[in-house]
Every structure is written in C-alpha cells, then in structure tokens.
C-alpha cells in the first residue's frame, strides 16, 4: 500500500470506465485535476504485491509509475499515472524500423526491471503504450539515443498467471513463473504482431495455445511475413533477412536456445536497425514522420482521453454518501432506543407516574363535600366542632 494516510480513491472527483476486461476493469480517474488510471481487479484476479513493490523502485521513463495499490471492499486495485498516448494494440501494422526502435525501448525498460529481479510476465500490445517524448532529457541516456522523440511505456507488471495467452512463453503454460527468458519469448511474439499487424499464434483454447507455443520453431516466420504482401520489394527482402536473427533468438520453445539476456537482444536489434534504417539521420527522420503520422491520426486522438470532470454512475470504488446516511440513520435509531430505555427505566416516566398519582389523590382528597349537618344550634366551641369540620377527604 502506498505510504500515504489517505487513499487517492477518496479524493476522486471524476471517473470514467475505459475498458472492461476479463482480468480487471480499467478506469480513468480525476484526482485534483490530474489523470490517473485505476485497475480494478475482477473476482479471482489479483497482482503480485512483492513485484509491485519492486516495480515502484524502478525509475524509468519507459515504465509506468504506480502511485497506490491495495484492497478496497476486498477488491484488489492498483492506481498508476495516466500515460497520454495510444496502446500499440490500436496502431495496426508498424513500419519495421519503428517496431525495432520501440522494441529497443521496451528491452531497456525490461532490463532495468530485471536489475530489481522483476520480470514483466504479461507483455502484449495492450501493455505497451506509444507516446510522444515531450522531455527526452528526463529519459535515460539509452532511451534518449534510441527513442528519437518516441516514448514507449510498458505497463501492467506483476500479473499472477500466464498473462495474455497469445504472447506467453511455453514454460508459462506449465505454471512456471515469469523470468527474463519468458519475457524474451513474449518480445518475439510482440515484434511479430507489430510488424505483421496480427498475432503469430491464434487458438481457441488454453491447450491449443500451449501446444502451438511449444512447436513455434516449426513456423517459417519470414514466409508468413512475406505472405502478408508487405515485403515484396527488395527493401522488404532486406528487412526479412535482418529480422531472421531475432526470430531465431527469441521464438524458441526451449528457453536455453533463446538469446542470453536483454543486453544481447539489444545488440541484435541494433544490428538489425543498422541493416535496414540507412543511417542515424534516416532513422531519426523515419521516427519523426511516424510520430507525426500517429499523433495526427484519428485513432491516436481517440486514444488520448480527457480528464473526466464528474463521476460516472456505478463506479465500484466510490464510497457513496448514501451509505453514510444509512450508517448515521442506524446509529441515530440506536441512540434513540437507548435514550428511550434510559427514560423508561431510570424513572423518566416515573416522574410523570408519581406526580400524576399524587395529583389524583389530592384531587380526590380536596373534592368539596357538603357541610356536615348539625342538629344543634350553632355554637362556637372549637373542640365540639372539630369532628364536623369540612375535611378534604370526600367519601
């Protein structure tokens, strides 16, 4: 849990549902005018708290920044800074150069995570966001040199389970935890998706995914890419050739046959970029043009969300004031019952009872009776008149 006294959820002034998924629902929040993303987990889903704690220690521009996590009403949730950009899932097919530049940034981020003993475990196009790097100086040297104004941000670390099945390494289907090797396999599938615009592996069930991932080296990836029609030119042929080393180093069912680590992968990516980019200037121009093309596109504009000004109805994390009213009403009724009991038992009504009884007795006692008849002539002897005196008691 974030070490603050008050949860950000208690300060939310606006909120909107962005996406309802199988694992969690994603909301965009407005907290003091600043946008945040809330990941509200569905029943049976959660995150690895130890991983989240370690992720918080990593300060990389390519990694999302977690602000708070915990449970509310027994539901696990996670809040992180909103990244203004577009999910790579929505961008369609990417130019090979851009895909390689983006992948190098992802690799740099994953390498930083690995130094904290954290593996992502759920790499997929949905968890990589393409944004414009407004302040390259804030980025690390490596990211700055490789980014060319493009900022690629990785989100959603520390999932419990294999993650997105179309991007999971074969060993993840066997229940093994995520590690650097499994992330490397996922990166191969992610690169293919970016270049081809479609998933390399598609299946209808968990078992079929597991089976196909285990025999991924049987696929001729260059041939599959060629069949998309995007690589029919001589330039395309060069690109396919440059990518072969990546497929060979990443998409291997046996983890030991994959590249050694992220550093080695980065070197292979650098070599591939050298082969197809045509120099640093050409590469920079290409990236700049791409950024301009995506920021001007309809899908990118749609993807950039406005901070919600009000709360959508039915947000599960909002503590309704109605509940407070209910709570106070219940306490009010209980206090009222207590007060009545005190009144009843400790003599509140007795005061009325005794006084009423006294009044009743006195009234009966003082009721006017007829003067006592005397046969004698009036005399003025007090003692003889005493018994004939009018008395309060009436019979």
């Amino acid at each position: 849990m974030r070490k603050s006294e008050k949860s950000l959820l208690d300060s939310v002034t606006g909120g909107r549902l962005l996406h309802r998924g199988g694992e969690a629902s994603i909301y965009l929040l407005n907290v003091g005018g600043k946008p945040f993303v809330l990941k509200w987990y569905n029943d049976g889903f959660s995150f690895d708290e130890s991983v989240v704690e370690l992720v918080c220690k990593v300060r990389e521009s390519g990694l999302y920044r977690i602000e708070e996590w915990g449970k509310r009403n027994v539901t696990p949730y996670l809040i992180y800074d909103y990244v203004e950009g577009a999910s790579s899932e929505s961008l369609g097919r990417l130019p090979v150069t851009i895909a390689l530049v983006a992948l190098r940034q992802v690799v740099a981020t994953l390498d930083a995570l690995r130094k904290q003993d954290v593996s992502h475990g759920d790499l997929s196009p949905a968890n990589v966001i393409f944004a414009v790097d407004e302040n390259t100086r804030a980025a690390g040297e490596r990211a700055k040199s490789a980014g060319y104004g493009l900022r690629v941000v990785v989100i959603d670390c520390g999932i419990v389970g294999p993650g997105a099945l179309a991007y999971a390494a074969p060993e993840r289907f066997q229940g093994k935890p995520a590690d650097e090797k499994s992330d490397l396999f996922s990166l191969g599938l992610l690169l293919y998706r970016w270049i081809a615009g479609e998933d390399l592996i598609s299946a209808d069930s968990y078992e079929l995914f597991a089976e196909q991932m285990a025999s991924v080296e049987n696929l001729n990836i260059s041939e599959k890419l060629y069949s998309t029609g995007a690589f029919n030119t001589s330039e395309g042929a060069v690109q396919l050739k440059a990518l072969e080393a990546l497929w060979a180093g990443l998409l291997r069912s046996d983890p030991s046959e994959r590249v050694e680590d992220f550093e080695e992968l980065d070197e292979i990516l650098e070599i591939a970029l050298d082969k197809i980019a045509g120099g640093a200037i050409a590469l920079s121009t290409c990236v700049t043009q791409y950024i301009q093309s995506i920021t001007g596109s309809e899908s990118y504009r749609n993807a950039v969300q406005k901070v919600p000004e009000c709360l959508e109805s039915g947000l599960p994390f909002v503590v309704h004031k109605k509940n407070n009213w209910l709570k106070w009403s219940i306490w009010g009724v209980l206090v009222l019952i207590l007060a009545l009991l005190v009144l009843l038992l400790s003599g509140g009504t007795m005061r009325f009872g005794i006084d009423a009884t006294g009044d009743q007795l006195l009234k009966r006692s003082r009721s006017m009776e007829s003067s006592t008849e005397s046969e004698n002539a009036p005399v003025l002897k007090v003692d003889s008149l005493l018994l004939d005196l009018p008395v309060p008691a009436a019979e």
Binding site: L334, R351, G353, M368, S370, E373, P392, A393
Partner: protein, 240 residues
C-alpha cells in the same frame, strides 16, 4: 483482510452499544422498585407502595420520585385512618415529616399542595388530641405552601373565632367564599358568627347566599330556613 478489519470494527461498535445498554439497564434497576411502588399506589395498596419506595430510598435517599411516592403512601394511609374516626396524629406526623424531607430534594412545586393538606390534617389531629394545641403556625405554613388550601383558612378562622378574634375570623370566611363560592362550611361558620352575636339578619344573609350557591347543601338549607323563621317571628312579635 480489509473485510476482517471492517467486521472487527463493526463488532467493536456493537459491543460498545451492548455495554452501554447493559450499564443503563443495570443503573436503572431501581426503576423496578419504583414501578412496583407506583403500581401499588395507584391500586390503593399503600403499605406495599411504602415498602417499595423505602427500598429505593435505602439505595438512593435523595431519589425525589421515591421520596414523593413514600410521602403520598403515608398520606393515603393516614387519610384512610381519618375515615375510621380513630386517632391519626401519629400517621400525620409521619406524613408531614416525609413531606418535609421531600421539600429538601424536590425543587418542583408539584408536592406542595399535598404537603399543605398534610399540615391541615396534622393541625386538626393535634386539636382532636388537645383542644388547646397551638396549631396556628402549622396552618400558616400550610397556607403559605398552598394559598388555595381553603380548608386551612377555614380551620384558622374557626380557631381565631374561638379565641374571640371574630373580626379576623369574619374576614377570612369572607375571603374564602369570595375565592371559592362552593365552600359550604365557610358560609355556615360565618353565619354562625353572626347568629351567636344575635345578628340574625346578617346570619340569614350569609346562609341564604350559601344556599343559593349550594342548593343541595342540607345544612345551609336548614339554617337558612331557621333564620327565615326567626326573622318572621321577630317581625310578628314587633322586635324587628
């Protein structure tokens, strides 16, 4: 985890409420004796009422309601004895003593009229034991406690008349019939004063006035008729 914390908080609050409730019921346990006393008082079981109120006072001597309840019970017992025409002095002494203690703990005006009547009865009981008893201070106190207690005024006027202070007595009787025109005894006693002074006309005036105000009162009817007859006889005899 969070659910357990909420559950524990709820449990704590409910526990606190139950504890307060228990303490209230425990503290209010005297209320049971009070209830029984009041119930006994209302159905005329005065001895039992006195017993229950005494029990409450054993635990809480300054309990105003129990003190008032006990005084009422003593009052009712003494008044019952009064109807039997036996000596009631001891009973009224006990009642007045209880009202005196009550006046210390009771700041309300509620019990004053009954205290005042108790003093009247005590004065009357003292005179019954000893015709020379000095009861005027008691009657003055009674009138001070309840200025509308015309029984005390009436007895005071009777005593003053007996002492020869007929003018003061007449003033008091006149005051009574002015404030309470249905107080038959005041008409009778005032008429008596005039009759014994041989002022038959004035006696007739008072008795007939009383008879007019209270046509059902046999004594007033009788003495009005007697006075009328006497006046007629005097006219016939030439004395008037």
């Amino acid at each position: 985890m969070l659910g357990r914390v909420d559950y524990n908080r709820l449990l704590g609050k409910v526990g606190m409420f139950v504890a307060v409730l228990f303490a209230t019921v425990f503290c209010a346990c005297n209320g049971n004796d009070m209830n029984r006393g009041d119930e006994a008082l209302r159905i005329g079981d005065y001895k039992r009422a006195a017993k229950n109120f005494s029990r409450v006072l054993d635990k809480d001597p300054a309990n105003r309601d129990a003190r008032y309840g006990l005084a009422i019970a003593y009052y009712a017992i003494a008044e019952d004895k009064e109807r039997l025409r036996v000596s009631t002095l001891a009973f009224w002494e006990r009642t007045v003593r209880e009202f005196k203690i009550l006046s210390v703990v009771d700041t309300s005006e509620k019990s004053k009229p009954m205290y005042s009547t108790s003093l009247f009865y005590l004065a009357r009981a003292m005179l019954a034991e000893n015709a020379q008893a000095k009861v005027l201070p008691l009657l003055d106190q009674s009138i001070k406690l309840d200025p509308e207690n015309y029984f005390s005024y009436n007895l005071k006027a009777l005593i003053l008349a007996g002492q020869g202070n007929t003018e003061e007595a007449k003033k008091i009787y006149a005051y009574i019939v002015t404030r309470e025109p249905k107080f038959a005894s005041a008409y009778v006693n005032l008429g008596n004063l005039y009759w014994n002074a041989h002022d038959y006309e004035s006696a007739w005036d008072i008795w007939s006035m009383g008879h007019e105000a209270l046509p059902q009162d046999a004594v007033l009817a009788k003495w009005t008729r007697v006075a009328e007859d006497s006046l007629k006889a005097m006219v016939y005899s030439g004395k008037l």
